[in-house]
Amino acid sequence: MNESPVRLIGVTRRFGDTVALDCVSLDIRAGSSVALVGPNGSGKSTLLGLLAGLATPDGGAIELGTATGRAARVGVVHQRSALDPILTVRENLALHAGLCGLKRSASRERIRTLAQRVGLTDRLHDRVSTLSGGLARRCDLARALLHEPGVLLLDEPTAGLDAASRRAFVELLDAERRERSMTVIHATHHADEAERADRVVMLDRGRISADAPPADLLAPLGERVVEAPGEPGASVGLLERMGLEPFATAHGAIARVTPGVDLAALLESGHEIRVRRPTLDDAQAVRLASDAERVS
């Protein structure tokens, strides 16, 4: 049974005058998956870097391990590939097996098994520099899983991948999670990836702005939203003229479909709008707008 809870107690991290994480507290149940979402600079990578041991916090405490004090083994898939391009896939995996203290025979077996699972058996003797972006990321995942970690940290692992490679990676990750019941903490900009997690933690300027299961975060938006793509200011204006309550997003504006809204009439109005299922991006936009309104 997995016993690797992660706990952050009032963690603060500064870079000069900039507060990257501001008194963040989190309690993550062993075996659960948490998606970290938030705009660039919100503190996701800083938080993962602290959990990975790449830096120490300026304040607060981090606990990685069981209640009985046993340290958790941590695997990390970084934002950029941590593989040496001049080494082969096998050599890279053997190197990291050595770093994790695996004995040679155990390492050989783990490499064989993991290469099979991530679909790299045929490429074991190829240099990493010859792999596609998607295959290199799978190799990174295999590297992070070599020592059977209790906690897996992923920092935007699908950034820069095409849709097919991204889907393949996410499905692989899901399969590994189900199989091994690891605690997974996954920073992502992709709402569909975040929605697969048990819990979503939204970060904004180094603080937690929301922390709930995806369904709870989506619930206030209802079944459907109206979206007007384009420049946010103009899109907000358009939805307002339609009698809706819009929120600006990165790609335009959205509005809830409240009872009494005549969707058919809106869609026939000739404006460039569409009706779709709400996403976590929408939930985050609404939350940020509400926070800004509250502050002002």
Binding site: A52, L54, T56, R80, L83
Partner: protein, 251 residues
């Protein structure tokens, strides 16, 4: 294999698979040696040897300097590529990561410098097994010092250009003031004083003394060894510590 061993293996394998690194470390000093040996063929040297033979230990030191610079650049590259983050986030102890980096850089730089020393007969000099062994020890000390300092600087400097600038300003004057090209006995008192404080000068003197089978003096060996210790220590401290923060993470 231990973390130290696999990282050492990776550095050596990476070096072998990048022939450009061998050219960059060994090629330029070898050319410098050839040009100096032929250009100053008639110059008098303190030991009476040909200038090519006199300059060989200095050129071997230059190989160590270039090896150190390349090791530092390699560390910056590893950080930019993301490889270093993967290594530092692994369960491997930090001392083994830092130690392997320094050991690999030192061994590779010293091994290439040794090739220069072994080529001394081509310049008309003679070698003894004992002399080469002792000179290799001095070269190893100098390489450890230079590579360690270079890796320590690289671990704190973000840009390759900045690193190159800093190292050129620091290490090249040290090499020029080591007596590598000209004896320092008749130099201006200011330069003699600077040379006396220059650990590479003592490494050079130990190497030259070993090859001439005369006594370089204990001081040269002590300073050379202390420089090696300083370089290794600096690298271990700089690479072996996570980015600063006041609180402790409990793992």
């Amino acid at each position: 294999m231990t973390a130290f061993a696999v990282l050492l293996w990776r550095e050596v394998l990476g070096f072998v698979r990048r022939p450009s690194r061998v050219v960059a470390t060994l090629g330029t000093p070898a050319l410098v040696w050839v040009f100096l040996a032929s250009g100053f063929a008639g110059a008098q040297t303190p030991g009476g040897e040909s200038f090519g033979v006199y300059a060989a230990p200095g050129v071997a030191l230059l190989v160590a300097v270039f090896g150190g610079l390349l090791a530092g650049m390699g560390l910056i590259q590893d950080r930019r590529d993301g490889f270093l983050a993967g290594v530092l986030a692994s369960p491997a102890p930090r001392w083994s990561i830092a130690g392997a980096k320094v050991a690999a850089a030192t061994l590779l730089a010293a091994a290439q410098g040794l090739l220069i020393l072994l080529a001394i007969p081509l310049a008309g000099g003679s070698l003894t097994v004992g002399g080469v062994a002792l000179a290799s020890g001095a070269l190893l000390f100098a390489s450890a010092g230079v590579c360690g300092l270079s890796l320590a600087a690289a671990s704190r400097i973000e840009s390759p250009q900045g690193f190159h600038g800093v190292m050129n300003l620091l290490i090249m004057p040290m090499w020029l003031l080591s007596g590598a090209l000209t004896p320092l006995d008749d130099a201006h008192p200011v330069f003699r004083a600077l040379a006396a404080a220059n650990p590479l000068r003592w490494g050079h003197e130990a190497m030259l003394g070993a090859l001439r089978i005369d006594n370089a003096g204990a001081l040269a060996w002590v300073v050379a060894a202390a420089f090696a210790g300083l370089g290794v220590g600096a690298a271990m401290l700089a690479i072996g510590r996570p980015a600063r923060g006041r609180a402790k993470a409990r793992r």
